[in-house]
């Protein structure tokens, strides 16, 4: 399969027999779904389409996962397809590696972002490298689902954004969905990919609802491509996952002030679709990047550097980053201070526009 090169979700095949499945001949159907519900339906379709697809994770069976993303899937597909794993992340990932070598297509759920580190070695030293190590003989079609990010008032280890570790690792693909439609298509594309995919789900947006065309098929945007969500000529604002919603709010607020922001949902963090970002910045001359993860060595650093290399002569201002601080993720009572929000992003928009902002103060040049 070539999900990353073509973006296609394989058409529902003859194995799709559940009553929830629309026959392949029925025209596109649009339904209102939460992001969580869209993931659940995408997983269901992947399970129905290919009997090599297995789900493996903690509490994903009867409970349906702590966020209910796998709700009722074990009931429907049985405990051999939707497997409750012992509480060991290295065990989950390492077992998935063996299953993949055997020809299976495992989908692992890491219960919370901060729990992924015990599985880190298996991800970066095995999952990422086995295709290279075996000179292409072994593929690792493993999807690792990670609910990530903060804003839910949780305790330590439940609100982190570890995506940069994985974007830094050759051999992995890293994506993040921001809305129900993308959740639905991207999870199926990730599972269909012959490369390993780290799939970051914005947990504070799980219950956000939206229209989902469940039969997009080959019309879906390829998973490796960014999407321009809103055109604008003054500033390019790049976000992914949970902050895409915030970025759209920023654009609306800026529009009231006469500033046209082009919002890009990055979607793929490895590889980054620099072509889309580059063409936007050549138009706007200004770039703001926002993410919840800490700033140093983060996605914003990579995007700022790469876009500066590619677009130096087009830039009117230095790219600005609005990110979580270089601190551990703070206790819930402090997360509002930590998380980029509308006002902090607008402040950076002012900075790249050369307007007065929190760094220049009232003596700004414009």
């Amino acid at each position: 399969m070539t999900a990353f090169s073509t973006g296609t979700v394989p058409a529902a095949g003859s194995m799709a027999t559940g009553s929830h499945e629309a026959p392949a001949s029925v025209p596109a159907a649009t339904r209102t779904m939460s992001l969580a519900g869209a993931l659940n339906d995408g997983l269901r379709r992947s399970l129905a389409r290919d009997d090599k697809v297995l789900l493996l994770g903690e509490d994903i069976g009867k409970l349906g996962g702590v966020f209910r993303i796998t709700d009722k899937l074990q009931e429907e597909f049985g405990p051999r397809r939707v497997i409750d794993a012992p509480l060991a992340e290295a065990g989950i990932i390492g077992t998935a590696v063996g299953l993949a070598i055997r020809g299976y297509r495992p989908v692992c759920e890491i219960q919370f972002d901060g729990f992924i580190y015990p599985g880190f070695d298996q991800i970066v030293a095995q999952v990422a490298k086995l295709h290279y190590r075996t000179r292409g003989a072994v593929t690792m079609p493993i999807t690792i689902r990670v609910p990530f990010g903060g804003g839910i008032g949780a305790v330590e280890h439940h609100s982190e954004s570890p995506e940069a570790y994985f974007a830094h690792t050759a051999g992995l693909r890293v994506v993040s969905c921001s809305n129900p439609q993308d959740a639905h298509t991207m999870i199926q594309q990730a599972i269909a990919s012959d490369d390993p995919v780290l799939f970051f789900e914005p947990k504070r947006r799980y219950w956000q609802k939206g229209e989902v065309n469940t039969e997009l098929g080959a019309d879906a945007l390829p998973i490796g491509e960014a999407r321009v969500l809103q055109p604008g000529s003054d500033v390019t604002l790049v976000a992914y996952g949970p902050l895409v919603r915030t970025a759209l709010d920023v654009a609306a607020a800026a529009a009231d002030d006469g500033v046209a922001i082009e919002v890009i949902d990055l979607r793929s963090l490895a590889p980054v679709d620099f072509t889309t970002v580059e063409s936007s910045v050549r138009k706007t001359g200004r770039l703001v990047i926002t993410h919840e993860a800490a700033q140093s060595g983060g996605m914003g650093a990579e995007i700022a550097a790469s876009i500066t290399e590619r677009c130096f002569d087009w830039l009117e201002a230095a790219p600005a980053r609005v990110t979580g601080f270089d601190t551990p993720y703070p206790p819930a009572a402090l997360e509002e201070a930590f998380l980029p929000d509308l006002d902090r992003i607008l402040d950076a928009v002012d900075r790249v526009l050369g307007r007065r902002n929190s760094l220049t103060g009232w003596e700004a040049r414009a």
Partner: protein
């Protein structure tokens, strides 16, 4: 606390007995170090069918893989290999287990199981690639039923467990066999593998080659008890066998494979052996190995005891000796030729096989590096006009 497999010898671990882990105590032994065939009722039936002729074949295998080891070490000393991890002393553990496997079984090993790779049919050229530094791994796992070796200690035990689980899902009776050392038993991965294998009753065999040393650390640093004592706590039956005894290893592996094939789940084998050489050609065991230990284990050599047993059966003929020596010589020649025939990889191949599907970021770097290399051909390298590529 004891092993539970019906019909096999079990051993008790006593809290009040200090365990001298480097000693061959509490082990199943079918051939003594001096070559006597010993009896062990639980194990004998599993090797009754091994004829004197077949024993001679096992002898040949062990001599050949020792010769592979000697030749590869020489190649390293001559600068043809960057590194080599010798298996000297562990021939019986590797041959006795690997020769019991079927082609449809799957091996997951560390980097020291080069004798196992020989049994699985890995070519000499492929065996040398990693150590010559031209490839991250040597062979296609599916062609030989053996994964490329894991360098991260113990990581492969989880892969074996997952593979075994998949094999059982597929309705086959194929078994995954995971090789690892005494040091690996301290790793979380190995312990998690035993948890998963027990929970799912995966058809996997955990084969621990306890060679007494993890580089400079003695096995006593990894465990205060026999390594085989751990498995029953996971609900996995275990056996502790003389790893320098090819028949005992073979019997134990057959028992474990039979359990796995018939739905009995995982088994743990501790093969008590000894690393007679260094950890790798970069190591210096004289800095940490007690005086006399090597001589003590030389007396328990896995090859000489089979030679003595064959001798006692009147089977160690001149014909056999010359056949085995001839084979070992031929293998050494092929190994050397295979090693020297490996070409230097093309610089651009550094980008190959990172991903299975196209990757825009890597394609860009590849294009830029190609342009950079091409710039030398265009005069960049001798100071002629031409900008630096980045």
């Amino acid at each position: 606390m004891s092993t539970t497999h019906e019909g096999t010898r079990t051993h008790e671990a006593h809290d009040d007995i200090p365990v001298h882990l480097s000693q061959l105590e509490d082990v199943v032994q079918l051939i003594s170090p001096t070559g006597e065939r010993l009896s062990s009722p639980g194990f004998d039936p599993w090797v009754d069918d091994v004829s004197t002729e077949q024993l001679a074949d096992l002898y040949e295998d062990m001599v050949v893989v020792r010769r592979i080891d000697t030749e590869a070490t020489a190649l390293q000393r001559q600068g043809e290999l960057g590194l080599w991890p010798p298996l000297h002393g562990q021939e019986a553990a590797q041959i006795g287990s690997a020769r019991t496997l079927r082609p449809d079984d799957f091996v997951f090993s560390s980097y020291r199981e080069n004798g196992v790779a020989y049994c699985r049919g890995v070519t000499f050229t492929d065996l040398m690639r990693v150590w010559r530094g031209t490839a991250a791994a040597g062979w296609n796992p599916y062609e030989v039923g053996m994964a490329t070796p894991a360098v991260i200690i113990g990581a492969q035990t989880l892969h074996a467990t997952g593979y075994a689980l998949g094999a059982s899902f597929d309705g086959t009776d194929s078994v995954a066999l995971a090789y690892f050392g005494d040091g690996a038993t301290s790793q979380g991965d190995v312990n998690e593998a035993m948890v998963f294998a027990a929970s799912f009753q995966a058809p996997v065999v955990f084969f621990c080659s306890n060679n007494q040393w993890a580089i400079s650390e003695p096995v006593g640093l990894q465990s205060k008890r026999h390594l085989s004592d751990r498995a029953p706590g996971f609900g996995i039956p275990s056996m502790r066998v003389d790893g320098n005894d090819v028949l005992a290893v073979m019997a134990a592996t057959r028992i474990a494979l039979d359990r796995a094939r018939s739905g009995g789940g995982p088994t743990f084998i501790e093969a008590v052996t000894y690393r007679m050489g260094p950890h790798t050609t970069s190591d210096d065991p004289t800095r940490y190995r007690p005086t006399g230990e090597l001589d003590e284990w030389r007396a328990k050599d896995p090859i000489s005891r089979v030679a003595a047993l064959l001798e006692s059966r009147g089977a160690m003929s001149d014909e056999l000796r010359s056949r085995v020596e001839g084979k070992a010589d031929a293998v050494a020649r092929d190994l050397r030729a295979g090693c020297l025939s490996i070409p230097q990889p093309d610089p651009m191949s550094v980008f190959d096989d990172v991903y299975a599907e196209p990757h825009s970021g890597l394609e860009r770097q590849k294009g830029q590096y190609a342009a950079y290399l091409a710039s030398f051909e265009n005069g960049h390298g001798d100071g002629a006009e031409g900008g630096g590529a980045s």
